[in-house]
Structures are given as C-alpha cells and as structure tokens.
C-alpha cells in the first residue's frame, strides 16, 4: 500500500512540475520561442507527398534539393573538395554546368578553410552550402564549427550570424571504410549549443531535410550515411519541399517496445521490428530521430511512456555516444513508465576497424538479442 501511494505522489509531483514549465513558456516576449510554430513531421510529410514524384536515389535527391535552392536563391553557392565535376559521391552532378563556375566550385584541400570560408560567406549574407568529403575529415574544421559557427549569433548579440550556412558530409559505415571512411561524429557536435545536426536516412527525407537546413536561420550540419546514397531509392517529391527540423519520424507504430535510431541504423531497426513481431509477437515502435540537435524529446518520451521499454541503437561508439543523452533524458522524463532499463546497442569503444566491421556494427542480431532480453526483464 505504502509503495503504491508513494508512486502516485511522485507521479503527481512530476505532472505539476511539467505543467509549470509548459504554463510559463510564453511569458517573456523578448525571447523567440519555437515550440508552438513547428508542424508535426507526419503532417509535413503527407503534404509534401501529395504532389508529383520522381524515382530518385539518395544522392540524386540531394542534388535535387541543392538544385531547387540554387534556382530560387541567387546568392546560394556550393563548394568543397572535388564538387565541381559532380563530387566523389555524385551529389553535385550537373550543377556547375547549370549555375556556373562562380556558384559551384572546388576549393583547395583544406577542411578548416572550407568551414571558415563558408562561415564568412554566410556572415556576408550569402547562402553557403559546403561539403566535407567524409565526416571523418571534419575534425580539422572542428574549431571553426564549434567555436565560430555555433557561437556567431550568440556572441555578437545577434548583430552577426552565419545562419545561412549548411555543411554536408557523408558519414557512417560502408562495408570496408575502416577508420577514416566510416565514422559517425554526431555526438561530438551534439555537445555544441548553436548548431543544428541532422542525419538523413533515405532519399525523401534527404531532400526535405536538406532543403530545410539550407533555409534554416541557424548553421546546420547535414550528415549523409554514404551506404544509402545508391541503395535508398524512393518516390521523391519533384518540387521543392521542406520537412521540419527538430522532429522525429515514427517509421513503424507499435505498443510493446520503442526502438530509436537514425541514419542507416533505421533500416536495421526496421528489420529487427519485423523479426521481433514474427519471433516474439512483440510490436515495436521504430522512431527515426532525424535531428540530433535539437532532438524531438516529445515524440521519443511519448513513445516510451506508452511502451515502457526502449532500445537505442547507433553505429558510433557507446561511451558518450548520443544514445547516452537519450537514455539519461528518457529515464528522467519517463522514470515511472519504464518496465526495464534503457538499453543501448551501439558500435564498440574502439576505432572503426577494417576486416572486423561485421563484428563491430550493431547488427540486427545484436539488436534482436537486446529485444529478447528487454522483454524478459
């Protein structure tokens, strides 16, 4: 009896704190709050899907987003290493012929220069779409991105900003990329207030989210899992459209267990959900986080409150991976709803290896084992 009343009392306290927070969100008109303005992901998605569509793979969808932006914004430029001939992953094919050498151009081979140059273009009012050839090589630009881009608006009291900046970079495992063609660096950047970080997981959301990043008033880091460039083929809306940043997508609805991931891992989790249903009669809800920063706490926590169980899965190493942030927030916001400890199935705390890749990745089998364990808990 005593235990139950204690639980009820705690639930009451949590609810009242939550209400207090919600009540007071619009008290100060000095501050621009974005909570009420964003549409839900599914609304934006269905409205975008209602028009004409073309079958595209992910790199073509990315080219299409950039093409749309460049055609309507004469200040928009695309640059990076080897983008002029179309890019090493074909993402800028045909753009230089269409828009000219002053709008689509190669830079010297220097990532800190690319990021700094991009910030300067954006600060001068132009739309800068910069490419880092592999996310593994973004670290030379870490200082420009973390100390400069992310803090530009804040430190100047909003006199200057580089919001018109988007940095694109291929990320994630590719089968044989080893240490420097496989990394998923999103967690490093997620510790940086002022940045927006997106990881796409397919052709449709690549186009909608990249367009949103290009138009967004904050500097965005757009990570493209290179394994999906050719493999994700979808009916992509032909015209320009945007999907909301900061919103997760419920890819598969379910009631028993929440699976959270992003990038290529979403496709692994979709398979896991199918296997879990078949083998254990467990209905998994699969959530594609899409935006790492600021992430969609509402969608995630609503799901976990409903299912009571959650597995988070990402390719990046476990320790201080973004899964840790999700896990901590979930246990704080959903403590009374959790029926089992939050589980993380991730890459190991090693560099990303060459021949051991099949043993390194958080495979569907490792995820399936986690499902088995969490439902038995």
């Amino acid at each position: 009896m005593a235990f139950t009343s204690n639980v009820i009392q705690r639930k009451f306290i949590i609810k009242s704190i939550f209400n207090k927070i919600m009540d007071s969100q619009c008290t100060n008109n000095l501050f621009r709050l974005c909570s009420a303005r964003l549409s839900s992901f599914s609304e934006a998605y269905s409205s975008a899907m209602s028009g004409n569509k073309t079958k595209l793979n992910m790199y073509q969808a990315i080219t299409s987003a950039i093409d749309n932006s460049m055609s309507t914004d004469p200040t928009a430029v695309v640059f990076g290493e080897d983008v002029a001939f179309g890019g090493v992953f074909r993402c800028s094919v045909g753009l230089q012929e269409k828009y000219g050498k002053d709008r689509v151009f190669n830079t010297p081979l220097c990532e800190q220069g690319i990021a700094g140059f991009a910030i300067g273009m954006a600060a001068a009012g132009a739309t800068a779409i910069a490419e880092i050839q592999f996310a593994d090589y973004i670290f030379p630009a870490f200082d420009q991105i973390v100390n400069e881009a992310a803090k530009y608006r804040y430190r100047s009291g909003n006199m200057f900003d580089c919001g018109r900046l988007t940095i694109r970079a291929p990320c994630g495992a590719v089968g044989h990329g080893a240490l420097y063609h496989s990394q998923s660096p999103e967690a490093y950047f997620s510790h940086t207030p002022g940045l927006k970080i997106v990881v796409t997981s397919g052709a449709i959301n690549a186009k909608g989210l990249l367009s949103a990043c290009i138009e967004d008033k904050d500097p965005c880091l757009f990570l493209e899992p290179k394994a999906l460039y050719r493999s994700s083929i979808e009916e992509v809306p032909t015209d320009h459209f945007v999907l909301p940043l900061g919103k997760a997508q419920i890819v598969i609805p379910g009631n028993d267990l929440t699976l959270i991931g992003w990038g290529t891992q979403i496709h692994v989790l979709k398979e896991v959900a199918a296997m879990a249903k078949k083998q254990f009669q467990v209905n998994c809800e699969v959530i594609d986080l899409l935006t790492i920063l600021p992430w969609d706490q509402e969608t995630v926590c609503n799901s976990v409150k409903k299912t009571g169980r959650v597995i988070i899965s990402h390719e990046a190493p476990l320790t201080s991976g973004f899964g840790a942030e999700l896990a901590a927030t979930i246990q704080e916001a959903c403590f009374l709803h959790l029926e089992a400890p939050v589980q993380r199935v991730t890459g190991f705390d090693t560099p990303f290896p060459h021949v051991y890749e099949p043993f390194y990745l958080p495979t569907k089998w490792r995820c399936l084992q986690a499902v088995q364990e969490i439902i038995k808990y």
């Binding site: 000095l30 501050f31 709050l33 909570s35 200040t75 800190q112 400069e148 804040y154 100047s156």
Partner: protein
C-alpha cells in the same frame, strides 16, 4: 625552366622585402612623390583618434588594475594601424583580431560603446556575453571579435567572395598579428583567397611578440609578407609606426584588391609597447630598455612632428585636446559603470534564431530557482522585466 645545376634554394640567398616608409623619425617626408596629400582635416581626425585611443587605453587599463573591469588589452605603439581605416569605404567589411580598437574608433564607434562592452552592461549590443574588448558593430560593418586566433581569416575570405559576387565594389580587410599567422587558418585563408580570387586585404600587425614569444621563435622566413609569393599573393611591408606609410600602403592595396579581385598582404612592422594584456607582465620576458627604445619612436610622436611642421597642430592644441579627451573618457566611463547589466535571461537568447524547447525549459527552471534563492544571486545588478 629546367636546370642541370644542382642547387638548393637557400632562404639566406633570397632578398628581403624592404620596409616602405614615408616619414623619417623626425616626421619629415623622405620623398615628396610619396606625400599622400591628404587634406588636413582627415590627418587631424586620424591624429585625434590616436590620442583618444591612447587616453582611453590608459584609463581602461587602470580600471582593470582597480578591479572595475575584468580584462583589458591596450593598443600602445600600434596606434598607426588606424590609418588603414582612413582609406576604406564605409561599406567595406572589417574583421579584426583584438588590437584594432583604433580602426573602430576611426569608423565612429563611440566611447560609451567601448565601455558598455567592457562592462557588459545593458547598453552593450553584445549583451554582455563576451569578455571585454570583444567589440563589434553591425552599423559600422565591423564583425564582432572572437578570442580564437586567426579564425577570422578564412571567414574574411568567404565574405570577400560573397562581396565579389554581389559586385558592389567593396572589399574586406582582415587584421591579425604575426603570431596568429602561424595558425593553420592563416594558411587556409591565404591559399583560398588566391585560388578563389577574393578582394581581401590581409593586414598583419607584426609587433615582434605573441605574448612572450618573440618572432624569432614564431618563424624563420622573411616575416609574413615573405610568404605572399608562395601563395601567389601581392604584398607590401610598411613601417607600422609611420602613419603615412600605413595610409599609402593600404590605399594601394585596396585599389588593387577591388580592381583586380585579388588578395593582398600588408605587413606593418611595429612594436607592442604595452603588456600583451592585463593578465601579462611583459618584463618577465623582455628587457625594459627595449620597450623604452620603441617608446621614443612612437607613431603618435612621429605623426605629431609632421603635423606641427605643417602648422596644423601645436602644443596648445595638444594640451587642450588631451585635457578634453581625458574628461570625456572619464565621464563616459563613470556612466557606463553605473548602468545595470542586461536581463540575466539574455544568457539563453540568440543561441539559435529561435529558442528551442529544451532551452526554454532550462530558462524557466532557472527563473524558478532564482525566485527561490534570490538572495544568493546578484539579481539587483541586472535589469528585470518582471
């Protein structure tokens, strides 16, 4: 060209870039063809800005010693840098490092704006978020300073590229010290500016020291201007204590940058007479005599000799201006000191264009906490809307 002669290209065999000067140490023009023939009003504006900067530096430095502001950096010995601002168009974009307050002053940044920033009070356009001397002004096209060295250099190049595309006849000038020029970002900036043909003036203040590190431990080549050739960039080395040399050098550089859409490096040789900052005691690493020697050849003194010889300035004008400058600075200083800080909630604003939910929650949490623990926080020093 080919050669069958095996020969190392030794640096000591290369000729050094000469230092361009217009005035000798007595303030006389060495070669009348180099007289910039600037109207006296403009000369006097430059000179008065130098004196005002010097006056402000003295008072603000003392204020830091008294604990009234947390930090300060003086411009002693490098006041002639501001002559570069006199040849720029108002719409040219400026990126600085931190020792270019004179450029801002010449552009029209007001005394109270310097002090409001150093105090981080409610009239600081930067909203008190950065350390003192991290100035910026949208109105004056002076990009807000940041502490990480040389990061502004590739940014200036990107801005110059955007200005070139906008075809408005503007250029970008970016200031940096010889120490900052050792950063990777300096290399990136030089190379990008050259290959992407950007109208940008790289203005290096070579003052002999990066904090305690003398330039002999910073590089072994022919200074910073000596690097230009390797990047395919035009360059000039000027006497940084000679106002007229800085003026002419920057004027030629601007004409070249805007007309050719190409970068140019100006290396102004000068000497950092003051300590690096209020957190530094430079007597720990350099002889006092060296400093005294440079104080003899201050850019202000040399320019004054020139102006007096022309009959445009005299001791009486000097005395009157200094008395009035000191009075103005002290008045503005005491006004800025009395102002409240901004609302403390400004800590949460402008991280993003719009405040995300998680940040709004953190702000709300802190509001509730401060209500409960009001007496534990300096609330009375801050503005409030409640």
């Amino acid at each position: 060209p080919w050669t069958d002669k095996l020969q190392l290209m030794r640096p000591e065999d290369q000729s050094m870039i000469p230092m361009y000067r217009v005035l000798d140490k007595n303030g006389r023009i060495l070669n009348s063809s180099q007289d910039p023939l600037v109207e006296p009003e403009k000369y006097l504006k430059m000179y008065k800005c130098m004196l005002m900067l010097n006056t402000m530096d003295k008072i603000m430095y003392d204020a830091q010693r008294q604990g009234r502001i947390s930090f300060y950096m003086t411009n002693y010995g490098e006041e002639a840098t501001l002559a570069s601002a006199a040849v720029l168009a108002d719409t040219d974009l400026i990126y600085g490092q931190y020792r270019e307050a004179g450029v801002l002053l010449y552009r029209g940044f007001e005394l109270h704006q310097f002090m409001d920033q150093c105090y981080g009070n409610c009239d600081d356009k930067g909203l008190g978020r950065q350390m003192p001397i991290h100035y910026g002004s949208r109105k004056l096209n002076f990009v807000t300073l940041s502490s990480p060295l040389a990061t502004q250099m590739p940014q200036a190049v990107g801005s110059a590229y955007a200005l070139k595309r906008a075809k408005n006849g503007n250029c970008v000038i970016v200031y940096f010290g010889e120490g900052a020029a050792s950063e990777g970002d300096a290399h990136a900036a030089f190379n990008f500016a050259a290959t992407l043909e950007c109208p940008v003036i790289f203005f290096c203040r070579n003052n002999g020291y990066a904090i305690s590190t003398p330039s002999s431990e910073q590089y072994r080549g022919d200074g910073i201007a000596g690097r230009a050739e390797g990047y395919g960039i035009a360059a000039i080395r000027v006497d940084g204590n000679d106002v007229l040399a800085v003026y002419n050098g920057t004027k030629a550089a601007r004409q070249y940058a805007v007309k050719e859409n190409k970068p140019v490096i100006i290396e102004a040789m000068t000497y950092r007479v003051g300590h690096h900052s209020t957190s530094d005691d430079s007597s720990a690493y350099r002889p006092v005599e060296e400093v005294q020697q440079w104080e003899q050849d201050s850019p202000i003194a040399r320019f004054r000799l020139y102006l007096e010889a022309q009959g445009w300035w005299n001791s009486q004008a000097q005395q009157e201006f200094l008395t009035s400058a000191k009075k103005q600075v002290l008045e503005e200083f005491s006004k800025s000191e009395k102002k409240l800080k901004p609302e403390w909630q400004e800590m949460f604003n402008d991280v993003y264009y719009e405040m995300p939910d998680h940040l709004a929650k953190q702000m709300k949490y802190m509001e509730n906490h401060v209500k409960l623990y009001k007496d534990k926080y300096p609330v009375k020093d801050f503005k409030t809307t409640i």
